[in-house]
Symmetry: C2
Subunit: 148 residues, 2 copies
DNA sequence: CCGAATCGCTTGCAAACGCAAGCATATTGC
DNA sequence: GCAATATGCTTGCGTTTGCAAGCGATTCGG
């Protein structure tokens, strides 16, 4: 039981590293983005008003707040996102998805899907995929910011 | 179908990030190691003669060769691993697990298992876990260095 | 054999990240 | 009201990482 949990966790982490390495190359060469940058855009895409505060992004991406600040800066420079202050709370600085950012994330999603399809290749049928999806969903059910 | 692959990949990556963040804190505070350092030790533990070349480690951990070089250096300093040259091929420099390294990885595995058990908590029974394990196994079946 | 290509490892450099500290703004307790 | 605390964001610093270049060692082709 405990051993099964450990085995599953190890396998999950190893799978993720493997997939991330594959995605990293594609996102960089095709779109000029890192994996985390694509995830940031995807979080904004599914958020109300296409915007999130920096701390909220940090929580959902499991990175520090300073990382979000430093990731957003260059993406703002190239126009993928913009900064928006809150009228109620002057501390908040939303990261807002721009039009070109929305386009970019849609393009990236195609690349993402292509790699994802390759990952599951031929050994998986629809039933397996549904089952796997349901099991994974349990792992992130209580975490904020499910992107699916 | 393609959409299911994408959904599964996203969920898998999000789960992994979440778990990694949890593990990172525990490994650092309890054992003074990073997640990747623990994985390095675990790869050595299950290798023949408890040793692997640097490029082999790099492939299995999905990191660059330079990363392995730089990870091994401090671990060698504190005696967790040692360096061993090959008599046949003078280019090879094996990373060898030491006695204290073996002890360390066994301790870390306990912490690892504890966190893993918490990740799957109560919503999972043995059947689910076995099923999940089998599905994950398909994802890494062809990759070298399965740690389970 | 011997030059050319390959392989394993290391190092310089730049990019990405976390932590701790700092600043400005909000909220709370009295 | 007002100090004390908490929150959101940024910045300085050290650490980790990948890429490209470089170095020896090995292998390959003729």
């Amino acid at each position: 039981m405990e051993h099964l949990c450990l085995k599953n966790t190890i396998r999950l982490l190893q799978s993720a590293d493997q997939i991330k390495a594959r995605l990293s190359g594609d996102f960089a060469s095709v779109h000029g983005l890192s994996v985390n940058e694509v995830f940031l855009l995807m979080h904004l895409e599914q958020a109300p008003l296409h915007r999130l505060s920096r701390v909220e992004l940090a929580k959902r991406m499991h990175v520090s707040a300073s990382t979000v600040t430093r990731m957003a800066a260059p993406m703002e420079k190239i126009g993928l996102v913009s900064r928006q202050a809150d009228t109620r709370d002057a501390r908040l600085a939303f990261v807002v998805l721009s039009e070109s950012g929305l386009e970019k994330v849609k393009e990236a999603r195609v690349t993402f899907a292509k790699q994802a399809t390759y990952v599951f290749r031929d050994r998986w049928n629809d039933e397996d995929l549904e089952l796997f999806s349901a099991l994974l969903h349990r792992l992130i059910a209580d975490a904020p910011g499910d992107l699916t």
